[in-house]
Symmetry: C2
Amino acid sequence: MSLSLNQWTTKRWSVAEAVDGCVRHGVEAIGLWRQDVAAQGLAESARLVREAGLRVSSLCRGGFLTTGSAEALDDNRRAIEEAAELGAACLVLVVGGLPGVVPGEPLGAGADRDLAGARERVAEALAVLAPYAGERGVRLALEPLHPMYCADRAVLSTLGQALDLAEPYPVAQVGVVVDTFHVWWDPQVFEQIARAGARIASYQVCDYLHPLPADVLLGRGVMGDGVIDFGPLTRAVLEAGYTGDIEVEIFNAEVWAADPDEVLATVKERFAALIG
Amino acid sequence: MSLSLNQWTTKRWSVAEAVDGCVRHGVEAIGLWRQDVAAQGLAESARLVREAGLRVSSLCRGGFLTTGSAEALDDNRRAIEEAAELGAACLVLVVGGLPGVVPGEPLGAGADRDLAGARERVAEALAVLAPYAGERGVRLALEPLHPMYCADRAVLSTLGQALDLAEPYPVAQVGVVVDTFHVWWDPQVFEQIARAGARIASYQVCDYLHPLPADVLLGRGVMGDGVIDFGPLTRAVLEAGYTGDIEVEIFNAEVWAADPDEVLATVKERFAALIG
């Protein structure tokens, strides 16, 4: 089991700095974010990870497909091309919330409460994007998000639902993300991890903090700082046949304020103790 | 379809005041809370609702069974006796979170991360309490809570999980609560409502606010103020055969600060427009 640093765990680092950090700390893989890749330059980012000998465990993220807009599809096609150029093991898709419901902003008159419709549009977009990704050797990874993000970030809320959505497509084209923060509470999680098998495109770990901070997006903590029992989940993912890197992805105001080198040292220590 | 006022929607009102409020506003049923009943006196509360001709749609709440303690069982036996004396249609059970994880308090060294164990203890407690309730003519109502409360309030997170837990017992002994706030996001909710059928002991409505307030417990809003599409859920509950009262239960700092008479007037108006 090999640790991958998701770049947003050390959010202050650019792609170049995060690549250096991985090399310095003996971390063999990295999860990249599109906006940081764009800031560094796509070709330059690809060169940096290649020359450092790092695997790109994921590119975050495509998705936001619930409006059914042509712009969203175009943006996802670009994300697929970027993932191909970076040699990323998968492109993570956060499918989007209810149309017109914006994270952190008050509910406006344009909010669309048709949850079934939003889910249907995700399925329709996937039918377009899966073959496009397949032709470019890119694997899409559907990420179910914790149900508290259903309104504003992802109408995809459980692993079972993600697997239903992935089912029509080849395993190499559409996989799923198992992220401990999002799935730990799910009474069906072990059964669905076993069902997922080779569909698991990414295993992401971080803890679920208690109490949640005022901005629930930032409720992710370093493993050991929250309520998740990582042993059973990690064992289940491995028993399902997952052999990829294990990404640590933490959104947390204190972690982001800390020295990234210290964060990465702590993450490595906790990973060794609780995950690998 | 008849509106029931859950007493905590007008939290400043005592039992006597809430009963008066219901009569004044033409509301025929009320959901009571144990601590308010205790403050009013159990016999006096029973007399007040009886003389006002109100139905008691639920008593909130028993539960907190995840520690496996004898004290918790004793407290639930008392709650069952109270529900019997009040003639409540059901006793709502909020099963409790991970042992040692306290709402609003930092995670301490005593936090128990064994989620499967906590769930098992709920099943064990139910085996004791269901027959006790049955002998007294009281129906227990298992309430799945939104997964964001899994750590600190209820390890019971989905309707499907509640139905699995209820299955060994007669329908008259153990039912489930369908609360729109807790279940609206669930991709299996319609299938599970249909499966529930006569197990539905209570249908509670309120909206899911966006963004959530800093204390996520208070993210409940008056119908129409949040992201829930009530039509499909209400139709599904009615098609499943539910004929009981529909309780409006809102935990919300602004609602609690407002004049309870105005709150109840608004609730009635929104109920007529969106639910009944």
